[in-house]
Symmetry: C2
Subunit: 213 residues, 2 copies
Amino acid sequence: MGKNYTNISMAVIRRLPKYYRYLGELIDKEVYRISSRELSVITSFTASQIRQDLNCFGGFGQQGYGYNVEELRDEIGKILGLGANYNAVIVGAGNLGQAIANYPYFSKRGINIIALFDTNPKIVGMKIRDINIYDVENLTEYAKENNVKIGIICTPETVAQKITDSLCAADIKGIWNFAPIDIKTPKEVKVENVHLGESLLTLLYLLNEKDKD
Amino acid sequence: MGKNYTNISMAVIRRLPKYYRYLGELIDKEVYRISSRELSVITSFTASQIRQDLNCFGGFGQQGYGYNVEELRDEIGKILGLGANYNAVIVGAGNLGQAIANYPYFSKRGINIIALFDTNPKIVGMKIRDINIYDVENLTEYAKENNVKIGIICTPETVAQKITDSLCAADIKGIWNFAPIDIKTPKEVKVENVHLGESLLTLLYLLNEKDKD
DNA sequence: TAGATTGTTAATCGATTAACAATC
DNA sequence: TAGATTGTTAATCGATTAACAATC
């Protein structure tokens, strides 16, 4: 379980996974010690910002020395809540749902994908990497019975809210939403959106933008 | 081609696709006219912010009336650069690359996926939805000869920078990067990242967060 | 000890919100 | 015209950066 901190801004929270990643790369390179100054070169955040960010959670460094890379990464891991295990299901076993089911990254992060769900009778009953595909009709019941804490929505937008409601009825904790819609949940169910269409449109905008400098 | 504006902050730019999406939904619902006040309810941006955002690009509304939904969406479409056509390639024909190749959304946005690339000899030569899979070795040459403007990177991180360099050598305009690494490009080649791992870690953090209110 | 670098406060910058005159 | 709502300026809020005393 991650420690709990309050009043951390989303700007800071979204940098934490980046710190975690950069520090992991440093560990791979057998770098044991790093200063905020050196880290600023790697991350392109300012040294000042790095120190500010880290001090939201406590003093992990040592004056005159810097930070111990491995220790710092572990601390950030704890803050992020790594180490816990969660059962998760993917709803929508189309191309994207299948790609995510095949994503090896999950188990490394303590996420166990224990089932897929779909409406298409042609694929219900099949398996993807030993994971069964069930009928969406059984979603709430299955999630309740199997201690599912995370739902991953890879359905078309038209059914995304209905799926969300089914998941929330099963007392899950969070939804990773790939459908291009803002789903509504009770406030105790957290939502993280991956809006690919918006990301692509942002790229299109940047392509046409006059260069700034 | 999109119009060119300068000094628009990324905060504003990233809201544009959202406006575009919400306005599209309103058109589907046959809503013809909307005030910033009404739009604020739908988007959960403040009315003030909406008016500020839109006025970065010009006055699209009418005092006492509000905005014409269809006209406003079209204007935002122009700002985003919709209407242009771009040839694009996907590099990395694994699960994610295939899922993206199958994503019907692209052609609607003027993006033509004309080829996939991979290193795996078992799949080079195959097709996905009539799109050929070529050897990565031929990437630069192919991109030059076929007026490729967008590269979509779905490879493991280990080769992502090399692929980036091959793409940049072919004079492309932008990269949509799904590899969990910060790729480096000359400044005229724009990059939009989709870092799924970071998104997932953010969700994990939120799961453990004490509720704020 | 002297040098380095953090933790933390204060200053700056930028983004959001509020307010209101202009005007449809 | 009166009411509504924009466009836009000014005020506020929050996030980033700078500075430096504390201290390893």
